[in-house]
């Protein structure tokens, strides 16, 4: 089916690591996706006095010590902790030992919106209330965005790994997957650990609040009454390797990465532009050698803001014409996990393919006539999925779309 591509240049997903408000690890996450679980609850990680409403999708009960064995946890901000935890889960899921990883070349790409902004919030508050002298040097030393990817190399002793933190915000997870995908298909690396991570911070909540894009109750993508996002947190990491490598070592293959596309609108700081979004989908489909009518499902960026959903559906209609597939938003369940969003969605797409179901868009009451789409409202459905598209559209017009395909051994 994938004519013209050798096993060495085909890229497959062999490990998944998930830290999310609806489940840590694959079994809990799959269960939540199937049952349409919501991660929404009142925010507790910062003082919410003064805000008219403050619901978010925080992660409770995350134990750093359960996942982080080598790097002292006080040297890691919350986002880096999530990043390592998801990486560890993905590596174990892939059946790779630390010795294996150290003997192979590795590319580590982690995408983010805020990096360690939760720590920056804290430092800012300290400085305002108590002055520069009161800043904690331990916190100051762990705020650098590059640590999100370096921390993984540190934890597993991967002294030869190439580490990259990609800061294209809410589509950065897809950028990282594309980065890992490229590195493997051109033979630059044996293993790519790629994904995204972010932690809830007051700064981001306030910025979205100021823009009038925080929902007072829940996230309702494509709904007539949608009011905006709920800020969330977490990390998603995927292990990518060549098909040849996976088959040689007998790894379990979750799905295949068929291709991806990137565009930048160069239009507006925060408003998306439909033509550029459509062009990004075109580029991804062409890279994957997939025709629009072959796509069985789209995992939308689907933030649940007025602007995004109508623009994204317009772009989808432009590309897919009469063959618009079912289009869901996992943000209805996860909230907007920022840099982790498109990584967690890509993982959701991969699991949907393997387990044969479409996760629902929850909180749906009435589809907005301005963005009519079959969003699989409220209840998951069984589905035979062969090709799934994952959209990531970020502020700054940074768009990244990834195409995943089911790997069928008998048709390989």
């Amino acid at each position: 089916m994938r004519a013209g591509r050798s096993d060495a240049s085909r890229v497959v997903i062999t490990g998944l690591g998930i830290v999310s408000s609806i489940g840590i690890g694959i079994p809990d996450f799959v269960d939540s996706l199937r049952s349409g679980r919501s991660g929404a609850k009142p925010i507790t990680s910062f003082d919410t006095t003064g805000y008219d409403y403050s619901i978010g999708c925080e992660i409770t009960g995350f134990e750093p010590g359960q996942w982080i064995k080598n790097v002292p946890t006080e040297e890691l901000g919350r986002t880096s902790q999530f990043s390592i935890a998801a990486a560890r889960m993905a590596i174990e899921d892939a059946g790779l030992s630390t010795d294996d990883l150290r003997s192979l070349s590795c590319q580590i790409s982690i995408g983010t919106t805020d990096g360690e902004s939760k720590d920056l919030d804290h430092l800012t508050e300290t400085q305002v209330l108590s002055g520069w002298e009161a800043l904690d040097p331990v916190i100051c030393s762990r705020i650098y965005a590059n640590l999100l990817s370096v921390a993984i190399a540190r934890e597993f002793g991967l002294s030869h790994a190439e580490t990259t933190t990609i800061a294209t915000a809410c589509s950065a997870g897809n950028y990282s997957i594309g980065n890992g995908f490229d590195a493997i298909r051109v033979g630059d690396t044996d293993i790519a650990l790629c994904g995204g991570a972010d932690a809830v911070c007051r700064k981001t909540f306030t910025a979205f609040y100021r823009l009038g894009t925080i929902a007072p109750d829940c996230c309702r993508p494509f709904d007539r009454d949608r009011q905006g996002i709920l800020t969330g947190e977490g990390a998603g990491v995927l292990v990518l390797e060549s098909l040849e490598s996976a088959l040689t070592r007998g790894a379990t293959i979750h799905a295949e990465v068929l291709g991806y596309g990137l565009t930048c609108d160069a239009y507006h700081p925060v408003a998306p532009e439909a033509a550029s979004v459509a062009r990004c989908m075109d580029i991804a489909l062409r890279d994957a050698n997939v025709k629009p009518h072959e796509v069985d499902l789209i995992s939308a960026h689907g933030t649940g803001t007025k602007a995004n959903d109508v623009t994204e559906v317009r772009a989808i209609r432009e590309v897919f014409g009469d063959t618009v597939p079912r289009t869901i938003s996992l943000k209805s369940m996860l909230g907007h996990t920022m840099g982790a969003a498109s990584a967690l969605s890509a993982i959701g797409c991969s699991l949907a393919i393997t387990h044969g179901f479409i996760p629902p868009t929850i909180n749906h009451r009435e589809t907005d006539p301005e963005c009519t789409i079959d969003c699989v409202p409220n209840t998951s459905v069984e589905a035979d999925l062969r090709i799934v598209q994952n959209n990531g559209l970020a502020f700054g017009g940074n768009n990244a779309v990834v195409i995943l395909g089911r790997y069928d051994e008998e048709h390989a």
Partner: protein, 83 residues
């Protein structure tokens, strides 16, 4: 309806010129920010945040779309209790 004091009118004008990137000479009370001056929605949020801070008032999310020109801002201020 109360009338806004002249010094506050002047201050609102200054803030409008700074945050909406307009010349003092070109701005009028009735011209529309978006339709007539091509002001960006993000700049309006910036401007209203500055108004809130300068005059110690809170502008509700519902009131924002009604602030279409300077006259609307004067009226809002004249009728807003100080926090």
């Amino acid at each position: 309806m109360s009338i806004l004091a002249i010094d506050r009118v002047q201050r609102v004008n200054e803030l409008a010129c700074t945050h909406l990137e307009l010349d003092p000479g070109e701005i009028t009370d009735t011209a529309l920010f978006i339709e007539d001056y091509g002001v960006d929605s993000l700049s309006i949020i910036d401007f209203t945040a500055a108004i809130e801070k300068e005059f110690s008032i809170a502008i509700s999310r519902e009131a924002l779309p009604e602030l279409v020109n300077l006259a609307a801002v004067y009226e809002l201020l004249a009728n807003s209790p100080v926090l």
